[in-house]
């Protein structure tokens, strides 16, 4: 066994236009990997978990590094916007604070200068830190191919660990978020492992907002990671919380429901039972905090 496998040889190409990307995808297909920040990619390649012959850097494509906010249509974040860019953007801090908060929990400061929102979404890691926040803002993946542009809700974009709905001729151009509901408040809470690395054991994002059309007078969106094959929302719990005016007991029940729905895998880092209980505890905690901030 090689204790030090090292990086395999590869070719690096910087795409100048989307046409470049389409041409290369068509020509090289299987041997090609699209790359944004590359922060996870090179680590995986060193371990030979990934071995593409060509890395196609799409970071420089037009619009990829832009954050565009419009009051009517909402927020479009270019796939190559870095997490540090994201967490310091003033518009974002005001309108989509949970995204900024989540960005700060990823890796370390140096890494966040290169790690991108698009990369975090495309890796399709069950524990992606940006995912719960992106879910509660109802993010959509904006995909570009020779067939044109299409948008796919993130829930549909993630298919399983490391697997996405990205077609062979497509790339992720941006993530789009509709304007948040008026009066929305929320937060992301991540529980790491004190032992062995800082991957989330559980991450929970909640966004709450007033809605007079439901008996509770409030609606909550709840996004989770690390406790199912993909990051996920829990619509049944969200719906449950609209049925009657909110109480602490109802929040506790919501926590229990979230725990039931979650399906974590036991590994060397944490038992299944612990992860499930932490889903409950964190869900209750963030719901309470959000409820407080809405009152």
């Amino acid at each position: 066994m090689l204790a030090r496998p090292g990086l395999p040889e590869f070719e690096y190409i910087r795409a100048g236009s989307s046409q470049d990307v389409f041409d290369l995808l068509k020509e090289k297909g299987a041997d090609l990997k699209l790359m944004l920040g590359g922060t996870d990619l090179f680590v995986q390649m060193r371990d030979r978990a990934q071995g593409p012959g060509i890395l196609l850097d799409v970071k420089g494509l037009p619009g990829m590094q832009e954050i565009d906010y419009r009051q009517r249509s909402g927020l479009t974040i270019g796939a190559a916007v870095t997490l540090n860019q994201l967490s310091t953007d003033l518009d974002l801090k005001e309108k989509y604070p949970v995204l900024c908060q989540a960005a700060d929990t990823v890796g370390n400061y140096q890494l966040r200068n290169r790690a991108t929102l698009g990369g975090n979404i495309c890796n399709a890691s069950p524990s992606a830190d940006m995912a719960p926040a992106a879910l509660v803002y109802e993010g959509e993946a904006v995909l570009e191919s020779p067939r044109g542009e299409r948008s796919l809700a993130l829930e549909q974009f993630w298919l399983g660990p490391g697997s996405t709905a990205l077609e062979g001729d497509e790339y992720l151009k941006a993530i789009h978020f509709p304007p948040p509901p008026p009066g929305a408040r929320g937060s992301y809470l991540k529980l790491g492992r004190s032992r062995m690395g800082d991957l989330a054991i559980v991450g929970v994002a909640v966004l709450g907002y007033p809605d007079k059309s439901v008996p509770a007078g409030l609606r909550f969106r709840i996004g989770l990671n690390s406790t199912a094959p993909t990051p996920y929302r829990i619509p049944a719990v969200e719906e449950f919380l609209t049925r009657e005016p909110l109480t602490e007991d109802l929040i506790s029940l919501a926590g229990e429901m979230a725990m039931e729905i979650s399906s974590p895998i036991e590994d060397v880092r944490a038992t299944e039972l612990y992860q499930k209980k932490m889903v409950r505890n964190l869900t209750v905690k963030v719901l309470k905090e959000t409820w407080e901030s809405l009152r």
Partner: protein, 926 residues
């Protein structure tokens, strides 16, 4: 190949590079800017941080092609002309440099921070430096240095040295002085082994077994040999001399041959030298290796069972170590209460920031030079010479700077492989481990199972102690017998106990070998005894501090090995001073009672307490000597030479200070030269907290002898009694005239006396276990109090405050001592909360830094109080004794005891598992 133009530190470079070349490789290998360090190669540790267009990035993971057209700033570009950047100056003066390997990354990250936030708060610093790792644990000093630099940049304030309430007492010794090598470390000029290259140098790499136990059936190297660019492929059959290496028992094959057994996954079966590193790697992949697996044994208790697979034919028992004192049976009969429990500690990884690197270089005169950052250069020389089957003088081992050791650089790593390849090819060969190989191959801390049974009177007086220890020494002996020996003698704590019986089994398994690691067995022992003592205190309703005070070793006490402690037993003073400081902080509240954190109904806080002791020096009958050479150079400066290693602990500073003290010389007139088996006499291993004491004494006496010789020369020349000649500030005063050291030197040379001498220091004798006499010539003592916060819902534990007192005999180098004390504490926090080296069925799970979490700046407590007790030894230099290891030892038990006090759950294993703790808390709650 891609052509890029990058601007590095103001200079444009046009380069043809390959896509897989990372910026760190290009900076280091193409541009010779070796200040940028590669420590993990996986974007985890921050050591390789450089600025690209002003933003800090991890250059080990940043393809250089991406830097096209960009401005890159490295550590070499920070100082303007000769003037240090305020951060560099502050890092030196505040002691924020220890081994120095992470220093460039820390400084570059801090520089980016100060550009963005000119006046950062502690929280800003923590945010920016989160996961820019420092294994020496220098974080508190780094934080102070960044503030001091900001003050200078923003307000022009001078950067001062910190002051301490310990040390002092001499002109140089005890004063706050900078490290002599700190300037190189903050500017990127410091040279570690991988920073060295030679023309025509080849790159070596080893093929590892990958299977924890088995017989090599096939090993075919033909295809590898045929690969263009490969210059040698060697197997066991190519070793001309001794195949096995090992520090005490030679049972570890440098290469495992066909028909032989591999005993852990890291065993090497073949080594390759090639023109590039990539070719060497490809060659390894062309080797056909077939190993027939054998059943594995993976823990020490199983290894002792009669039906266990045998790791070595001689059996799995490396050593059974016994201690008997008094009458254990009678002791328990006389006891009014008996307590017993079993404790578990895992393997731990040193995770020194600098991975192992060796370069072997054949010289024209038939000698081989080996460059390696080793803790025992003379031992490396013997082992390399034995493998090559050449006389000792045909091997020269030279030590560049070392990026941390902690005991993990005592055994052979790539030294023998590099030497074999250099011999075979006639060319210099470099073998550099990456983090993965480092974690896989080098010896770890012994995993232990320790059963402790204590018999006491109801008033808390200890009457009897019986312990049984199992230590997992892994596939090879390394220092296992010695480590577990220290675990044995420390397993009943620093207490007066009339009746003791100890049995310890050091066992071979198919895990990676275990060897020396800061605390050396005594660490594991301290955890077990101190956790049980805390339970005793609770159940007997005695204050935990009072229980320790009552039983503490003091002057005149007899230890469990029958040694009478005649001097320098500062344990009671450590206990008192720690207790006082805690009382001051808690303002009279009982520190050991759980408190709710205001505004956080799910969190509880409480303090925990532990004491410990640690031997200085090898002890137990091992000769413990050091020789130092000193020379008055022609320019009047003095050079001190000894083979001992600077691994970040500050030995260069200590030896420079001692030389300067003895010769009344300004510090900058003293050069210290270490780790060169041709030019420096043997200082013995850098282990067992022994260098300040042993090498310190050798240097002290060498300097004194030189001084006498200088005085004698002057006395003759001026016909004066020597006591009428003064020496001050690098000059001799004779009859009111000043004679410079340079002149004294030339006088001596004129008379045919070379102003150079070697002093051989022999430490006081010790005796083996079971024989009367002293087992060790000195012990250090410590008391530690730690406040933790437990989250009752998640089971998370955080250290809030730490107060500890250590008896060091004499604080010789206060700035270095503070760094060792804080860094040891932080490593102890890591061992208690974040670190665990996991091996499953002989396969290493924690083979990346991302899976082995060493403490980061986030784990630093809000408040640290370092209290130094100076209860001097008669023999140690200026009264000093060892300090390098003890600061880590009492930390895990103090934390575990604090967790119990905060939430009522007792743990008997580390690291604390938040999952398990949460389940216990839930079970308790319901």
């Amino acid at each position: 190949m891609t052509n890029i133009t990058i601007n590095v530190n103001g200079k444009e470079h046009n380069l043809d590079i390959k896509a897989d070349e990372m910026l760190a490789d290009v900076l280091r290998n193409r541009l010779g800017l070796t200040g940028t360090k590669i420590s993990c190669g996986e974007a985890e540790c921050g050591a390789c941080t450089v600025l690209v267009d002003g933003a800090p990035i991890l250059s080990c993971n940043y393809p250089a092609v991406k830097a096209q057209g960009k401005l890159v700033t490295t550590i070499e570009g920070l100082a303007k002309d000769d003037e240090l950047h305020p951060l560099q100056e502050a890092f030196i003066k505040q002691g924020a440099v220890q081994c120095g390997f992470c220093t460039p990354g820390q400084i570059m990250t801090a520089a980016a921070l100060l550009n963005e936030i000119p006046e950062p708060t502690d929280a800003d610093i923590e945010y920016a430096l989160n996961d820019t790792l420092c294994r020496c644990g220098t974080y508190p000093m780094i934080t102070k240095a960044i503030h001091a630099a900001a003050d200078k940049i923003n307000r022009g304030s001078d950067i001062e040295y910190p002051s301490f309430d310990f040390g002092g007492g001499y002109q140089v010794v005890g004063q706050v002085v900078p490290r002599p090598e700190a300037r190189q470390k903050v500017t990127g000029e410091a040279i570690y082994t991988d920073d060295i290259s030679f023309p025509g140098m080849l790159f070596g790499a080893a093929l590892r077994a990958g299977i924890p136990h088995g017989i090599v059936k096939e090993l075919d190297i033909h295809k590898a040999l045929a690969l263009p660019g490969v210059q040698a492929v060697l197997t066991a059959a190519d070793i001309p001399g001794r195949v096995n290496h090992g520090l005490i028992i030679q049972d570890w094959p440098a290469l495992v041959g066909v028909g032989e057994k591999v005993r852990y996954v890291g065993d090497a079966v073949a080594v390759v030298a090639a023109e590039t590193w990539e070719i060497a790697r490809q060659a390894l992949e062309l080797i056909d290796l077939e190993i027939e697996p054998l059943p594995v044994v993976t823990n020490a208790v199983d290894a002792k069972k009669t039906d266990s697979p045998l790791v070595h034919e001689s059996g799995n028992l490396l050593k059974h170590i016994k201690v008997d004192k008094g009458d254990i049976k009678k002791g328990f009969e006389e006891s009014e209460v008996i307590f017993e429990d079993t404790f578990f500690t895992p393997h731990y990884e040193h995770a020194f920031m600098e991975p192992e690197c060796s370069i072997a270089r054949p010289l024209d005169n038939g000698k081989i030079e080996v460059y390696v950052g080793s803790q025992i250069s003379y031992e490396d020389r013997s082992q390399v010479a034995a493998a090559l089957d050449v006389p000792l003088e045909k091997v020269r081992v030279r030590g560049p700077l070392i990026g941390g050791g902690f005991g993990g650089k005592e055994d052979i790593a790539g030294q023998i492989h590099a030497a074999l390849l250099a011999r075979a090819t006639g060319k210099p060969v470099k073998i550099l481990y990456d983090r993965h190989e480092s974690m896989l191959v080098h010896p770890k801390r012994h995993a232990t199972q320790i059963n402790v049974k204590l018999g006491l009177k109801k008033d808390g007086t200890l009457v009897a102690a019986q312990t049984e220890l199992y230590g997992d020494t892994g596939a090879y002996a390394s220092l296992g017998a010695k480590v577990m020996g220290r675990a044995t003698t420390h397993s009943t704590g620093p207490y007066i106990i009339p009746n003791v019986k100890i049995d310890c089994y050091a066992m071979y398994t198919n895990n990676p070998p275990a060897g020396a690691f800061r605390g050396f067995g005594a660490f594991q022992a301290a955890f077990a005894i101190e956790c049980l003592m805390d339970r005793v205190a609770e159940e007997l309703e005695i204050d935990p501090i009072e229980l320790r005070r009552k039983n503490a070793l003091r002057q005149g006490s007899i230890t469990n090995t029958g040694q009478q402690l005649r001097e320098s037993v500062g344990l009671l003073e450590c206990i008192e001073k720690t207790a006082q400081a805690v009382e001051e902080i808690t303002a009279g509240e009982d520190p050991f009672t759980s408190r709710i954190v205001p505004g956080e109904p799910n969190k509880r806080r409480a303090w925990g307490f532990a004491v410990t002791f640690k031997n200085t020096g090898l002890g137990e009958g091992a000769p413990d000597n050091a020789s130092a050479e000193i020379e008055l150079l022609e320019d009047g400066r003095v050079e001190t030479r000894i083979s001992s290693a600077e691994i970040g602990q500050g030995l260069v500073t200590v030896l420079q200070m001692i030389t300067a003290e003895e010769l009344n010389l300004p510090l900058d007139q003293v050069r210290v030269y270490l780790s060169d088996t041709d030019l420096t006499p043997d200082g013995g291993p850098t282990t067992a907290s022994r260098q300040t004491y042993i090498a310190g004494n050798a240097v002290k006496f060498a300097a004194r002898t030189l001084r006498e010789s200088m005085l004698a020369t002057l006395a003759e020349k001026y016909n004066l009694p020597p006591d009428q000649i003064g020496i001050e500030g690098g000059k001799a005063q004779v009859n009111g005239e000043e004679v410079s050291f340079a002149e004294v030197g030339s006088l001596m040379r004129e008379e045919g006396r070379i102003p150079k001498l070697v002093y051989d220091y022999k430490s006081p004798p010790t005796t083996p276990l079971g024989e009367p006499g002293d087992k060790h010539f000195a012990y250090s003592f410590a008391a530690q109090a730690i406040e933790v916060e437990v989250d009752l819902e998640t089971g998370e534990v955080r250290v809030i405050r730490a107060v500890g007192a250590t008896d060091v005999g004499k604080a010789i180098n206060p700035l270095g001592l503070q760094g060792q004390a804080e860094g040891g504490l932080i490593m102890g926090i890591g061992h208690a909360l974040t670190e665990e080296f996991i091996v499953e069925e002989g396969q290493v799970f924690t083979d990346h830094l991302s899976r082995y979490r060493m403490p980061s700046i986030q784990h630093v407590p809000e408040e640290i109080r370092v209290i130094i007790v100076e209860d001097p030894t008669k023999e140690g230099p200026y009264g000093g004794k060892g300090v390098g290891e003890i600061s880590t030892m009492p930390v895990p038990p103090a934390i575990v005891n604090a967790v119990h006090n905060a939430c009522g759950v007792r743990l008997n294993r580390i690291p604390i598992d938040q999952d398990w703790l949460a389940s216990q808390l839930q079970a308790k709650g319901s």
